[in-house]
Symmetry: C2
Subunit: 381 residues, 2 copies
Amino acid sequence: MKRFLSAMLLLGLALGATGCGNLQNSNLSNNPTNTEKKAKKYQTTTTTKGGYTVLLKNGTYQVSPINGISATNNDNNIDTRSLEKGLLDLSKRQFSTNSYVFQEGQQISESTAENWLARATKKDKTGLNPIDNHKKGADTRNPIRVEQILEQDFLTGSGRNYHLGGMSLGIAMNSIDYYNKVTDGPQYHTTISRADQEKYGKIAAEKVVKRLRKRKKLRNIPILIGLFSKTGQDSLTGGTYFAYGIASANSSKIRDWKALNYKTQTLPTVGDQKAISSDDESDFSNFKSAIQDYFPDVSGVTANVRYEEGKLTEENISITTQFYGYAQIQSFTKLALSAARKYLPNNAAIEIKISSVNDVQAVIAKNSPSDNYYVHVFNGE
Amino acid sequence: MKRFLSAMLLLGLALGATGCGNLQNSNLSNNPTNTEKKAKKYQTTTTTKGGYTVLLKNGTYQVSPINGISATNNDNNIDTRSLEKGLLDLSKRQFSTNSYVFQEGQQISESTAENWLARATKKDKTGLNPIDNHKKGADTRNPIRVEQILEQDFLTGSGRNYHLGGMSLGIAMNSIDYYNKVTDGPQYHTTISRADQEKYGKIAAEKVVKRLRKRKKLRNIPILIGLFSKTGQDSLTGGTYFAYGIASANSSKIRDWKALNYKTQTLPTVGDQKAISSDDESDFSNFKSAIQDYFPDVSGVTANVRYEEGKLTEENISITTQFYGYAQIQSFTKLALSAARKYLPNNAAIEIKISSVNDVQAVIAKNSPSDNYYVHVFNGE
């Protein structure tokens, strides 16, 4: 078991806000009876289209006590954002952003998550991971399958009166489990197939829901479960959810599992890796050439592309330059905008982040495909 | 004399592009005869409202060979962007962005700048800085007054045919000159009054223009000169231009010096420093309180405010958080937007940069007072 530094920092927040009552929406209300009206104002801001309003408690944002708890020490940090953002996206299918407000998971405690992420033993079946069979072969040992659990809560109500109306759980399944044969010895790994991730992920999900249903408060709410495939240590893009299902109120049975076909990739591809879409690869390559021809001191241009059901939905481009003169950054940003308009696909959200050795220098983005590009060159020194 | 690392990097660029001819605008033209049309397209993009089109040479951006050359080693890096951006802004008063394209200064060579930034000697009056009188008292010695020279060129023409149509020079005058009485001994400093900066800045400006006019190519173009006051080593905001004048074509006389009343300040103020505007200070303080009340783990909120002729024109806010969970950053950004709308002035350009220990996480900005706020939460891992 371990915690990332990030989790420790997040906990710092939670500790300061353990009091009860006095619920408030995350708006700037000086008048708490006015919260609902203000909350609506948030939900209609163009910048947070389709986002949840967040419920605060005693005036502060509540973090989940199980953030950052993982079964092993071999976690790829890059998964963290994908795990969280992906579950929020899935949750919108079940918990409408108009009817529910969001809070990070408050129901599963730290010790519960630690117990669940442990291996089972002959005496204690609490652990969702398999009993240690003490074998050391990559394919003969029992790997750690369930690496992380993420909880998100969805509440309904108004004013000072909110109650839990739904919950989402992300269960992060290893695709590779790293292990040592002797303490501090060389690292080996067991590769876990998608079929295996799915089979054991569903078993873990059923167990978790059954356990939660024993608590009165959690009996009659819908629970959405997403199964997430974690990446290997070397991956440059975060993992993805590959299936989700729902346990209706008062039921421990997860009905209607749906497969999700999400893929992510970093461009340019390395080695003999094949691009998911050769069209998108060539668009990116044209974009890259255009900016590198005119500004030779651009040291790195990479894209993280994301596909849902075969369709490109997101392209996040990172450009590292070796210059930071004001006119040069301005000029380069104009060129990148022009290249983006000329070469990049029109049907995806695009983010282009331009950084120098010092700091981020400019951003070009459209948050949804139908938006116009927005450009901002940072002024702040 | 010294060069910053940045200047060295910039020079790397310049070295690769010393060939002549084949001028091109900084657009993505595959067809060089089409450059002018494309250049117009740039000038009408909303994102670069009022900005110059940049002229490339042999397909690459040209940096000025005198970038980063300074008279002493005691330069405050924070001035670099203000010096460059400020001169671009002044230049727009003389060289319309519709008629002229921009190029970083190409006329003053590295060795010329080094000679000009040196001290004069009894035999050689090339140096713009005063003869060393060998006194060591803060008020009895002759301080280094002219710290840096910045050149910007403005060209007219079309297609492959551009010629120099104007030039701007930024002369950076020390407000504090740091010195040692013995090599590697303790640091002392001479404070230089604004009156002194202005007097000697104007003398240096006249000398520089007279020297440039001796070159045939530079005889019949208008030259704009801006006098810039550099900050001390501890300043958190960049310096400002305090005067500018113009030498008309074929004239070495700088006519019509105009005083500029620009001020910058970092909020919250430190010690017993008084805010330039107590209204803006209290607006910022309300903004800061609002976001810190709801998210206690916000570790730093500062603003750099800029005033022109007593009017707030720019407020760049930097927020450092200790968290980077996706939902938390999203929620925090929404709150910051709401606080910005509620508390920050409506009549200035605003930039709010939200960073975590890892990297920039979000930006909220309006590039001009009449714009709406744009918000972007970074996706890229």
